[in-house]
């Protein structure tokens, strides 16, 4: 990128700087130590043009040009700002709807005036249970909405124009039943699947680093492929898969592990889709990412730039994808919840602002900013509104949205982007050497790697080497009381009452037939190899079960017994 003369001057200047730095340190009697990024990459106190000597300009390029290091589109936010996508979901569907409407009234907006609703299901649904199961006690409507059936969908979306909204269904492994409920509900409203917009999570891969019960890894991969396949046929505008990098970082993984593991899983999933007869470009166009934005300000920015680059290069070079939409990394930023503290909770507003600001200048497509009370409870409406305001202040007041990839060309940012890209490629390569993501999931390798990072981080906090304001420095003894949100205890009773009513009034014959069909489809599905997934029977049977008013828990019961279910890792 630089002419030899510049590089020569750069080296000369850098030597002079180094000497100055040494003298200053000697004067202050400080022995300089090697600095590291939070991922453990060595970083220098200052960067120079010659630090970029080995980076071809083609790796940086232009916004909207391959390899998309500088952003997906020629215009980053100038023509279309990032979408506000706060996570919403608690209590009964009507209560979640009230929060959706309240945030929409506060200006929460997606692209081109469409409303985006980022909806999370409750713990009961995540576990694939019904609210009257003994293990559901105390968990109905907690950390998500108590939505279990097509009737609950009606309570949630009543009177909203389904063709004008985007709905993100944040599920764990109940991906297929939850989408089936939405499709069946849309059908009742006269809306065809092809006209629905939104996202499924398809998050089976998170069982590699998250401890909840799950389907066996190889069955999870097939389920992911099944959804991609169904959507390619019936819902071409539906975003099928969300690469859950956020979960890696929240579980303690580094920025490098976060994007390296997502690349490794991307390779695995594309390979599986291809063997099931789905062209890589078709699958890739509907993939998205949920990426964390955590405390190391520049590393987190460079992580985003590096991810765009290594993903595009890998999918192009390895799988022959060419269409820009198939190579671009569409990012939903989730500011890190794990970085937030229960101590001095209002300080979290400062942290989330820095996280959101970093994501903004890294280039993101959508954002959820964690609420300041994240470490204490489900957000209050006030906290959720303030989190939305963080986005709005950055969007409206700072002028940072005027210029695409404003940090491009910074010696530090370009050098660190290249460093992270290289390290993440090594993570992906090491997984490939073990036979791919699923093998590394089954062997426990991924879990061990992520937990190793979590333990190192915690040890650093413990010794004070990693400073956390209010936790290991600047602590106070007086608690700052903030309002705590509590789910109304009546929610559980009402959800069970509704379930009883559903079972009493639904057409039993119709329900039984649909469940038998689902059982047969699931049994057949369980036996097949990924290259033999030649039809959409499982998804179609699930939609039929949803039409017959089966609950998500009932459908999951069938899937669990056919496919297997259990703890993903032994300790």
């Amino acid at each position: 990128m630089f002419v030899p003369e510049t590089l020569e001057q750069s080296r000369t200047q850098s030597r002079a700087w180094e000497e100055d730095f040494r003298q200053l340190a000697a004067k202050l009697r400080i022995e300089p130590t090697q600095s590291e990024s939070h991922s453990g990459l060595p970083i220098k106190p200052a960067y120079f043009p010659h630090d970029l000597e080995d980076i071809p300009f083609a790796d940086i390029g232009a916004p909207g040009q391959y390899p998309f290091t500088r952003g997906n589109l020629a215009a980053q936010y100038q023509l279309m700002n990032w979408a506000n996508q706060p996570v919403i979901g608690y209590g009964l569907p009507e209560q979640t709807r009230q929060r959706m409407d309240a945030l929409a009234a506060q200006g929460m907006i997606g692209y081109q005036g469409r409303h985006f609703y980022n909806l999370v299901y409750d713990l009961v649904s995540h576990e694939g249970l019904d609210p009257d199961h003994p293990a559901s006690r105390g968990r109905v409507g907690q950390c998500g909405m108590a939505v279990y059936s097509v009737r609950d969908m009606e309570r949630l979306f009543k009177d909203l124009d389904l063709t004008r909204i985007n709905v993100v269904h944040i599920t764990y492994y109940q991906v297929i039943p939850a989408l089936a409920q939405y499709i069946a509900y849309a059908e009742r409203r006269g809306v065809r699947p092809v006209d629905l917009r939104g996202n499924s999570m398809n998050w089976y891969h998170q069982a590699a680093y998250v401890g909840m019960s799950a389907f066996p890894a190889h069955q999870g991969l097939k389920l992911a492929v099944a959804l991609v396949r169904y959507c390619a046929q019936h819902m071409p505008r539906w975003n099928t898969t969300n690469f859950f990098g956020y979960g890696v970082e929240e579980a303690g993984g580094t920025a490098i592990q976060e994007i390296g593991l997502m690349l490794a899983f991307g390779i695995e999933l594309i390979r599986a889709c291809h063997s099931a007869g789905i062209e890589p470009e078709v699958a890739l166009e509907r993939f998205g990412f949920q990426i964390a934005q955590a405390n190391d300000f520049f590393e987190e920015i460079c992580k985003i730039r590096a991810l765009r680059q290594i993903w595009a290069k890998t999918m192009h070079e390895r799988f022959g994808a060419n269409k820009p939409a198939a190579l671009q990394v569409r990012i939903h930023t989730h500011t890190s919840g794990a970085c937030l503290t229960a101590q001095q909770p209002l300080v979290n507003l400062i942290r989330t602002t820095l996280h959101a600001f970093g994501a903004a200048i890294a280039g993101t497509q959508a954002m959820e900013v964690s609420s300041y009370d994240e470490a204490l409870s489900i957000p209050t409406e006030e906290a959720a509104t303030l989190a939305l305001r963080v986005q709005q202040v950055i969007q409206e007041e700072t002028n940072v949205t005027r210029v695409s990839d404003p940090l491009a060309g910074s010696y530090y940012v370009e050098a660190l982007t290249a460093q992270i890209a290289k390290a993440a490629m090594q993570v992906a390569a090491s997984i490939e050497l073990q036979g791919g993501y699923i093998s590394a999931q089954q062997s426990g390798f991924i879990r061990r790697e992520v937990e190793g990072s979590a333990a190192r981080w915690r040890d650093l906090v413990q010794t004070g080497a990693r400073r956390l304001v209010g936790v290991n420095c600047y602590t106070t003894s007086t608690p700052d009381p903030v309002p705590i949100f509590k789910v109304d205890p009546e929610v559980e009773r009402l959800a069970i009452e509704r379930l009883v009513e559903l079972r009493r009034t639904r057409d039993t014959n119709r329900f039984t037939q649909a469940m038998l069909r689902l059982r047969d489809a699931a049994t057949d599905f369980a036996r097949r190899q990924v290259d033999d997934l030649r039809d959409d029977q499982l998804m179609l049977a699930a939609i039929d079960a949803a039409r017959a008013e089966a609950t998500t828990g009932e459908m999951m019961g069938v899937l669990k017994s056919a496919l297997g279910w259990g703890a993903p890792h032994e300790f």
Binding site: L123, A135, G138, Q142, S213, G247, A342, R458, Q462, F571
Partner: protein, 148 residues
């Protein structure tokens, strides 16, 4: 010999701990870190992801643990602790502790129910290790021999 060293030699290997996390609750980073720290301290640790509280009770009895730690970060903790305490009926000198995200007013309720300590956000693993050691010392249970 320092008292710390004698602890390590004589006592720790005999403290058996069950650490349990509801399977619905994905926030297991803290409790799994604690498990490694308990092991580093010489405790024997059994880790359990459970669906029903009765699984915690069964594991505690079968594995004959002296300490039960339940981590909860997504609500539902009152029901779980109540069922575990009821299931164990006589606690038989077992120590029950909790951790995770548990609101202050619930912490008081839990302590009244017999949960001896709650290690919430910001608590250090070292505090938890020290607490268990102190408890074992005070307990002076027949199978825990304290020598200084």
């Amino acid at each position: 010999m320092s008292s710390e060293a004698s602890w390590t030699r004589v006592v720790n290997a005999r403290i058996r701990v069950l650490l349990a996390k509801p399977t619905q609750d994905c926030h297991d980073r803290g409790v799994r870190y604690l498990a490694t720290k308990f092991r580093d301290a010489g405790f024997e640790v059994i880790f359990l992801n459970f669906l029903l509280p009765s699984e915690v009770v069964n594991a505690a009895v079968q594995e004959d643990v002296q300490v039960i730690g339940i981590s909860s970060s997504s609500g539902g903790h009152l029901a779980v602790f109540a069922d575990v305490i009821a299931g164990l009926k006589e606690m038989d000198g077992r120590l029950l502790i909790g951790g995770g995200v548990i609101p202050v007013e619930d912490q008081q309720t839990l302590q009244q129910m017999g949960v001896r300590a709650i290690f919430g956000p910001g608590a250090s693993a070292e505090e938890a290790v020290a607490f268990v050691k102190r408890w074992a010392t005070a307990q002076a249970a027949p199978n825990v021999v304290v020598t200084e």
